[in-house]
Symmetry: C2
Subunit: 168 residues, 2 copies
């Protein structure tokens, strides 16, 4: 009837980070087949004033690790945002996955009611943990994974929604 | 400590459908200012073999109403997928919102354990309600809302992530 805040967050991030890893690998394979430098994909953008693919992946990572940290009242590890290649982005995803796997369900006790303060470009926002997760962290995470997918797809990488949704 | 399947689904869809409505309105306003037919946006695609914006909105609507129906063991209303204008797409969102609002939390009792069978392009998939929601319905819903956002953004509509994330 109900699910824990742990169940509503950590497995969701892990599932979709695994898909993100797999579509990036398909991007690298595509570049190899077509004999172009995959760094072109890493710096690609959907609009001149949107973030490039590298930043999309970094923010997806940050959204996931930031959510786990905030919901448990801990500090997330800081990653340096220096990734320039698909391999480095995949390593970033793997580090994020390791971090997420370090959490136990018990650490999420009381997470739905925890007060979360966020500094954002539009000022400081305050949520309870439940609203932070469902109206901020998850939408933000999926936004950046989907935008990565769209960037690859827009650039001719043969991926389909099954790659994004993964295995049930 | 825990959230109900209702709380993990209906308010999430409602919150982000409201954002989707608002970014589509900004798309229509942009077309008016720039004096082009907003139908150009409605039929825009990020790749020749990706769905156009109209279909992205229709599938976001279907993902939301389909999830509510499947999690409660009911049948979703069938919408005809005939929308050709931004106004019609907004009306589709409004119909979806009305439908989602018709659900009560009590209808979601037992939803996490409910068996959900889905016919997909890769065969029939079986989930429990919890995995259906977190690994299929929500990712799929956010995918199509984000792709709509990316299509508008790619075509010069001045929207930012605050429009997508909405108010907490």
């Amino acid at each position: 009837m109900s699910l824990s805040m742990y169940e509503a967050s950590i497995p969701v991030f892990l599932h979709t980070l695994s898909s993100l890893r797999s579509i990036l690998q398909k991007g690298a394979a595509h570049a190899e087949t077509k004999k172009f430098d995959s760094a072109v994909l890493v710096s690609s953008r959907l609009a001149p004033d949107m973030f490039p693919l590298s930043r999309q992946v970094q923010i997806a990572s940050d959204a996931a690790k930031g959510a786990a940290a905030r919901l448990t009242g801990t500090e997330p590890p800081k990653f340096e945002d220096t990734e320039k290649t698909i391999d480095e982005l995949i390593a970033r995803i793997d580090k994020t996955v390791d971090y997420l796997k370090s959490f136990s369900a018990a650490q999420f006790e009381g997470a739905a009611e925890r007060v979360v303060n966020l500094k954002t470009p539009r000022g400081e926002l305050t949520f309870n943990g439940l609203n932070f997760l469902r109206h901020w962290a998850l939408p933000n995470f999926f936004f950046h994974v989907t935008t990565t997918y769209n960037l690859l797809r827009h650039n001719g990488v043969e991926i389909g929604k099954a790659d994004y949704l993964g295995r049930p």
